[in-house]
């Protein structure tokens, strides 16, 4: 499965002068990727002969996230090393090349989105590179021989039941499973599991004709100055209705 090393969801993000974030903060595995790892590991427990490989594109520090994936049960890991940042097209090309060099996977699990850049599309580009079907936001997964049945969450709680054949790419949603947190022996064992490092430049990937380029980035200052509403419950309710109707103009009546 593909995982991503991202800043902790509780970290304060500071933008440096070079438009890069101050990386002196805690990085973690992208939360949705934990569901992807968990599902892959569960599948291995059912089908015995599966080889579960964690793959990422990132700096050397992303090794921590791969070790976490191995502590959760992945057998080995591949780190495609690159110092620069990548858009989803070039990330997908790199992951695809690394995956295909290793072998042909039956299923690629990944998180439905990443909490840092929120592009929502790397898995789709990866599926296009691998020329396999893809679904995102999977909340239920079952496999019989080479047939996959997944349930994906759509809008307003609608559920879509989809069938496809392996190989395929699946974007894991939060409700797919409850990731189990590794115990100390698992963490120690993960340190000894094999991790292959590949330099991105060694994969010989052609530069894509299209790309998304970041021009500038800045921190957001949160500026809201609260107005206190008080009084009896009825008075407060009246004021709220007034705000909804007159300020926000969201009430028809």
């Amino acid at each position: 499965m593909c995982v991503k090393h991202v800043p902790d969801t509780a970290a304060t993000i500071r933008i440096g002068t070079d438009d890069c974030i101050d990386e002196n903060i805690t990085f973690i595995m992208n939360p949705y990727d934990e569901n992807a790892v968990e599902e892959a590991v569960r599948l291995k427990k059912q089908t015995i002969d599966a080889d579960v490989i964690a793959v990422t594109l990132g700096k050397g520090t992303a090794e921590a996230t791969l070790r976490s994936a191995m502590a959760m049960g992945a057998d080995r890991a591949i780190l495609v090393k690159s110092k620069s940042s990548h858009d989803s097209i070039s990330t997908a090309r790199a992951l695809c090349a690394a995956i295909q060099r290793d072998g042909d996977p039956d299923i690629v699990f990944t998180g439905k989105e990443s909490v840092d850049n929120e592009g929502f599309q790397t898995m789709f580009h990866l599926a296009a590179c691998l020329d396999v079907p893809v679904v995102s936001n999977a909340v239920k997964f079952a496999m019989t021989d080479t047939t996959i049945r997944v349930t994906c969450e759509m809008e307003a709680g609608d559920l879509e039941h989809i069938e496809m054949e392996t190989p395929c790419v699946i974007g894991a949603g939060k409700d797919l499973n409850q990731p189990s947190y590794p115990k100390l022996p698992d963490i120690l064992k993960a340190r000894k599991k094999p991790l292959t490092e590949i330099e991105l430049s060694d994969l010989g990937i052609a530069t894509p004709a299209s790309r998304v380029e970041m021009i500038k980035i800045e921190s957001i200052k949160e500026e809201r100055y609260p107005e206190i509403i008080d009084g009896t419950a009825d008075e407060i309710a009246d004021t709220i209705v007034h705000v909804l109707r007159e300020k926000a103009k969201v009430l028809d009546g």
Binding site: T9, T12, I13, P31, Y32, V115, D116, N117, E118, G119, F120, Q121, H125, A127, A128, P133, N137, E153, M154, E155, A156, G157, L159, E160, H161, I162, E163, C168, K174, D175, A209, S210, R211, V212, E213, M214, I215, I217, E218, S219, I220, E222, Y225, P226, E227, I228, D230, A233, I236, A237, D238, I240, V241, V243, L244, K247, A248, V250, L251, G253
Partner: protein
């Protein structure tokens, strides 16, 4: 003349209001505006679309007639329409369906796509979006033959631009899809979708249990609001994860966000900080949210919400 297309989403037989906001993003571009619609809904949407500046409404079908929902098929048919009409810029919504379709179209064309934009400049090919769950904002430039943008629902308001639109049919040629959609199971249809709601009323730790969420649903109904929840309420098992607002839940931009018994963690703010008005009802005057909102109500939500529900019912009848 340059051509721009907008991928239209329908809800209950009508164009989603958020789509009209996405169309307004293209108003300044002096391009010819196309609307791409699926599943025999063009006639129903024509009037609304031409009132908002669309010049040509393209109804996409296939050799077998209207194309039933299948994200892979819709994406491939959409690409054929873009190619046939020589359209290089495509706008859509960063809704669940929009993310699904735009990402597939971008992947199949290997085209640049910026998702969840709050603003775009179609002549410069630039887009603004949040990064790191709303803790930073970045501007991106798309380079390539195509330019795709998914607009955050409600980030832009609908702007009327009355005109006349031509209705055309486009027939795509589709092969068998590798995806088989077996069934679409309807959720609770009387509930408003979080990401597209004008008003969201959310509950957190202060709700105390699952049953108490009923007062939020009751309050939401007369104002057509969606009900959300903080991670605490979801993790406690009071409500489903589909209702979670925040970094590991949904990102929303309603016109009004009413937070009931929510302390306002960084992760929660990541999901709702772009709301127009944030209102907080909390017993604790020192809760983080009470200092980062527009209206702070320091009171017991179990007194305020029922009173508010009564007032709203009086107004809406």
């Amino acid at each position: 003349m340059k051509r721009v297309a907008v991928l239209i989403e329908m809800k209950d037989g009508k164009v989603k209001p958020a789509c009209l906001g996405a169309i307004s993003a293209a108003h300044d571009s002096d391009a010819e505006l196309f609307a791409l619609v699926f599943k025999g809904t063009a006639a129903a949407s024509l009037e609304t679309l031409q009132a908002h500046g669309i010049d040509r409404v393209i109804e996409i079908t296939s050799q077998d007639g209207p194309i039933q929902w299948n994200a892979d098929h819709w994406a491939r048919a959409g690409i054929q329409a873009l190619q046939y009409y020589n359209i290089k810029t495509l706008l859509g919504l960063a809704s669940v369906q929009g993310k699904n379709l735009l990402s597939r179209i971008a992947a199949l064309l290997e085209a640049p796509l910026v998702m969840d934009c709050t603003a775009v400049n179609l002549s410069e090919h630039t887009a603004v979006k949040s990064q790191f769950s709303g803790r930073a904002v970045a501007e991106f430039k798309t380079r390539g033959e195509y330019h795709l943008y998914g607009m955050r629902p409600n980030a832009l308001s609908a702007v009327p631009s009355p005109g006349k639109a031509i209705l055309e049919m486009f027939q795509a040629v589709l092969e068998k899809s590798k995806l088989r959609v077996l069934e679409v199971q309807q959720g609770l249809s009387d509930r408003v979708d979080l990401t597209e709601a004008d008003i969201i009323i959310s509950g957190g730790r202060g709700m105390e249990n699952s049953d108490n969420f009923d007062i939020l649903f009751e309050c939401a109904r007369p104002m057509s609001a969606a009900v959300g929840a903080s991670r605490v309420a979801v993790d406690a098992g009071w409500v489903s994860h589909t209702m979670q607002v925040g970094q590991t839940g949904k990102t929303v931009s309603p016109k009004v966000y009413i937070a009931c018994g929510i302390s306002g963690s960084v992760q929660h703010f990541a999901g709702m900080k772009t709301a127009g008005i944030i209102m907080a009802i909390n017993l604790d005057p020192d809760a983080a949210i009470m200092h980062k909102c527009d209206y702070a109500v320091c009171a017991n939500l179990f007194d305020i919400i029922p009173a508010l529900t009564r007032k709203l019912k009086e107004i809406t009848g």
